[in-house]
Amino acid sequence: MGLLEDKDKQFLKEKFSKELDKKVKIVFFSNELNCQYCKEIKMLLDEVKELDDKIEVTEFNFHNSKDEAAKYGIEDSPAIAMLKEDGSDTGIRFYGIPSGYEFSTFIEDIIMISTGKHQLSDKAVEEIKKIEKPVDIKVFVTPTCPYCPKAVFLAHQLAFINKNITGKMYESMEYQELAQKYNVYGVPKSIVNDSVEFEGAVPEKVYVKHVLEAVK
């Protein structure tokens, strides 16, 4: 049995064939030692790949592919990096399975990367493009959290428009130790450059303000 229902597959197939433009490359770093959901992630990616030939998936074993992992700055696995057609990095990451509510973020990311169209306001774009230092945004989520995609997709969009920014979703059950380290008991929780942290699905403008605060 697959992870996606037939009617969702049909819906996505139609959506992708209407909206996708350029190819999207998905790089998956798996590991068979301590990965709760690697099998499911692989299944999910295979099912999504089947929906449109503009979607490509490559899998690496994290422990045997240090060079590839280093190339995208992947520190841990399971991890997914999303690339553009020409192989350039978007800074969009999923640490853990993009399922439940996060599946919609994953789909929006694919469409954004393929079409180049994001949903940020002009004002946000202007401010974010000015950032010249590296910015690391971690967003902790659970798959059952309805407000979380909003925070994750914002982080991903910021990464998409500025290559100094990496936007990482962390699925808190897969990354329990990390969630504990950052004292996460409520989601979404966003942490920018390990210095600024905030909870909740805040509006775009507030999100941007927090990110700017971290690079001041």
């Binding site: 059952t144 959290c145 008991y185 929780k189």
Partner: protein, 306 residues
Amino acid sequence: MEKYDVIIIGGGPAGVAASIYTARGLLKTLVIEKTAVGGQIVLSDVIENYPGFTKPLNPTDLLNDMQKQAENFGVKFEFDEVKEIIKKDDGFLIKTDWDEYEARGIIIAVGSSAKRTGVPGEEKFIGKGVAFCATCDAPFFKDKDIAIIGAGNSGIQEGLFALNFVRSIKYIEFLPKINAEKILQERIKEKDNVEFFLNTQLMEIVGDNKIEGIRIKNRESGEEKFIKVDGVFLFVGNAPNTNFLKGFIELDERGYIITDYTKKTSVEGVYAAGDSVKNEYSQVVIAAGSGVTAAMSLISYLENKK
């Protein structure tokens, strides 16, 4: 500055339902929402009592569909927090965190948010073991013991979901009885890892760096007791999100908006709907209906004014 015929504050069921009607009345409509479209109901994992659906619905799907329906009729959505409304000669100026808008008529549908108890320890542990959304945060308490404060509809509904993860639930209820839909009561009573402390008051959330437990008091015998739990979920009722409206429209002593049966507030051209209004049952179907009443009243008000 963008000018609208109608601005609706709040993108929960009341606000979105209202917007469908004003847009179909060919009024240029904007909904301003401070977090995400959907309102409180998306905090629940299912909704089973919205008429017309034979299977339990995912509230986020229901509200996303409402939003799409509204957008199909031309409604625009902005994500920002409304801070102030100012009356002008021919309408209103609405100030948000970042922008200003003008509208000829307003519908306030700001709903309500979970109340806090104010007991010692609560503030310090919010986001660190004290939570308001089991659907979001129960996974952090896998195989742990939690307390749910408040055995009303939301408390029971969310407890049923939390049981997918947690080892046990202790319910602390101020009233001498459980005040939830009978069908929910039956479902929770079937579980053997759930215990009820009725007629009981939460006194303190205890712990240094993490929650060790709670101190409770039986309201009849006065007996106090410590119970070990790792997390505390609060469902002790709601308070309306109407602080920014003080001095602008008439509110009751608890902050709920006072309206007449047409949903008109004390200020001409301003209507209110849903959970933020005095004497409404907190249900999605009622919030939606209340939003539609406000919309139809506002439409006829704007037509008569012309």
